[in-house]
Symmetry: C2
Subunit: 146 residues, 2 copies
DNA sequence: GATCTTGCCGAATCAAATACATACGTGGCT
DNA sequence: AGCCACGTATGTATTTGATTCGGCAAGATC
């Protein structure tokens, strides 16, 4: 994991369709060497996958909210994760320090769909309350700084 | 934006390296037709970009926190966004309803780096306070549901 | 009914990914 | 010093897939 690898990662985060030849040039390596490094980064799991960034608004998901979830007891077990994963609106779910003890990122088409998502969360066993923070506007969103 | 487009999006979110021929087969189209649809999705901005998903832990960023930011006055202007963007630890920044009025997703290598990030946020003009929610464990994180 | 537009197909072409054989440099060992 | 062994780079095939293109069919428009 040297500076070259970091540059490759940053470059691929910007545009994963960049040809290896061009990548190599940017870091002073041959295309084949760049390819080999990227292959290893994938192998080691540094690069989890190649994906596309879909504009949520373009697919109708105009409502974003963070939901802080209050739990009766410790809800750090995998069942909790699965229960949240079963709700298609939940994009992220974390265990957090303090009370509330869970945090979920929820994206919905409308506020009434958001309400439906909240109901889904409330119905999970052990959930005693939620507090929702509605996002009005997103300044920016960017990949991990490498 | 029909069912086929949505399937293509979902498939590309899973793996953007899938050949068009395979994509086409999955939706009952030729490779060329699938290619044309994806090209248009890009053109229309539904697909923002092709990128890689980097494991934050693999690049040392082991600490994740959400920071709720209290502001003296309305801080919805672009300067606020720029000020937050200037902090490399801030991955997302949103304007939210209520007080606190801003929310930032912060990723750092260590807690002391997190502290440094918080200092950076505090130093932004108009910020009167912050409340930090530290993530202990991430259940999951997945792309927009299409 | 003539014409346009849109979306699809299959084939041809072209670019890039991948595999391969080979060199180079570095550290450890005799 | 001389000699591996290993990891990494290079340049060159070879293969794979992206991209382009002409043609065709199904509506929509007038």
């Amino acid at each position: 994991m040297d500076e070259i690898d970091r540059t490759l990662l940053a470059r691929l985060q910007q545009d994963a369709t960049t040809p290896y030849a061009a990548l190599g040039q940017e870091v002073g390596l041959s295309g084949a060497a760049a390819h080999e490094r990227v292959r290893k980064l994938r192998e080691r799991g540094v690069i989890r996958r190649t994906t596309i960034d879909v504009d949520p608004a373009a697919v109708g998901k105009g409502v974003l909210a963070y939901v802080m979830i209050e739990a009766a007891a410790w809800m750090g077990g995998p069942e909790t994760g699965e229960a949240l994963r079963a709700l298609p609106w939940v994009e992220e779910a974390h265990i957090v320090a303090g009370s509330p003890s869970l945090l979920a990122k929820v994206r919905a088409k409308t506020t009434s769909e958001l309400q439906q998502a909240l109901k889904g969360i409330f119905d999970i066993d052990g959930v005693t309350g939620t507090q929702t923070i509605v996002v009005l506007e997103t300044f920016f969103q960017r990949p991990v700084d490498v």
